[in-house]
């Protein structure tokens, strides 16, 4: 028997949307991350475990899972912070179909970024000179505050409105749209505001702020969405929506 201080009691979701938690004993290590734990299970205990990661340093956004009930980026979540009693319960992200074990299908999540017109629409071609945008201009600041999204889906998995209304674009797509609304080089705002307005868009958000609370990059999608609410109202009142 391994002693409790040196072993973690890890239960991991196995299956797809239907499935069950399976327990694995994993040795406790110093500075161990939740991703290290999952990797240990897959390399040493059960090679059939499916999960996703790439960069291991919080850049790619592929390693998010539900850890003890909370969506987190696992590569930068230390076990010591989330498993004080030595227990870990690791499940796939909410609000996305499970492909297998800890891997979810993010196609719908990314499709919503496209539906929210999350692609840059240039107004100049490559022969044009550089756009000069003052770093301290209000629009630039608003874009900067929201730009560092890594597309991890943590906010999306944490948003109850997505659960209730599967059509809802969700915090990440709307946050992305807000960065472009504030991009002076972009020419697609009329279509973008029409795409993000209404009942499956920004007006469905109840400002719960779970997205902000959980975003590993400390972004504030709630604030971005509030900006979209104001921008769409202005567009509606001036006949541009």
């Amino acid at each position: 028997m391994a002693d409790m201080a040196s072993m973690l009691d890890v239960s991991v979701w196995r299956g797809a949307d239907e499935g069950r938690f399976v327990s694995y004993p994993v040795p406790r290590r110093e500075n161990q991350t939740v991703l290290d734990v999952v990797t240990y299970v897959q390399r040493r205990l059960d090679a059939t475990l499916a999960y996703r990661f790439s960069c291991r340093v919080g850049m790619c956004g592929s390693c998010a899972m539900t850890v003890n009930g909370v969506a987190r980026w696992t590569c930068r979540t230390h076990v010591g912070r989330v498993a004080k009693d030595g227990r870990l319960r690791i499940a796939p992200l909410r609000n996305m179909p499970v492909i297998k074990d800890l891997s979810v299908d993010m196609a719908g999540f990314f499709a919503k970024a496209a539906r929210a017109k999350g692609a840059f629409r240039p107004t100049a071609d490559r022969t044009a000179d550089f756009a000069v945008i003052a770093p301290d201009s209000p629009r630039r600041r608003r874009a900067d505050a929201a730009i560092e999204c890594i597309g991890c889906g943590v906010c999306y998995a944490s948003c109850d409105v997505v659960t209730w209304n599967p059509d809802y674009l969700g915090p990440a797509a709307l946050n992305r749209a807000w960065t472009l609304v504030n991009d002076e080089r972009d020419g697609g705002n009329r279509e973008r505001l029409a795409a993000v307005a209404g009942d499956a868009g920004c007006h469905a958000c109840h400002s719960h702020q779970s997205c902000m609370e959980r975003c590993p990059k400390h972004l504030n999608p709630t604030e971005s969405i509030a900006g979209l609410k104001r921008a769409t109202v202005l567009a509606a009142l001036t006949g541009k929506l």
């Binding site: 209730w164 209304n165 307005a197 209404g198 868009g201 007006h203 769409t232 109202v233 929506l241």
Partner: protein, 116 residues
């Protein structure tokens, strides 16, 4: 419903909420003031009857409730029930008419109480 209509409904609910924040405060303040030393139907009627200021106040109150409540109800029904969206719109509109009708009738009834 169109994105434009949804956006305007959202705006209408915020504006009516701002109105409600004021009128609810005045309403509750008046209640607290009025119950000092007991409350009687006569006292209420004495204050409200024939008073155009109170009629206007409660007229606005009813209008704000008739706008605010049904839009909120519509949101809840859409999020929480499988009822078709069209049906919810019709039900919310009917609820707005009911609130406005009964509310204004009550306000006007008190204003004209005693056969003014």
């Amino acid at each position: 419903m169109s994105a434009r209509a949804e956006t305007l409904l959202w705006l209408a609910q915020r504006i009516s909420a701002m109105v409600l924040a004021v009128v609810v405060a005045v309403h509750i303040g008046t209640i607290i003031y009025a119950v000092q030393g007991g409350l009687s139907a006569q006292e209420i009627i004495g204050r409200v009857q024939g008073n155009t200021g109170w009629l206007a106040f409660y007229g606005v109150f009813v209008a704000a409730v008739a706008v605010h409540g049904p839009i909120g109800l519509r949101t809840i029904l859409r999020e929480m029930t499988p009822v078709p969206a069209r049906l919810i719109d019709v039900a919310a509109a009917a609820f707005a008419v009911l609130l406005a009708w009964t509310g204004w009738q009550a306000a006007y009834g008190l204003y004209g109480f005693g056969g003014a």
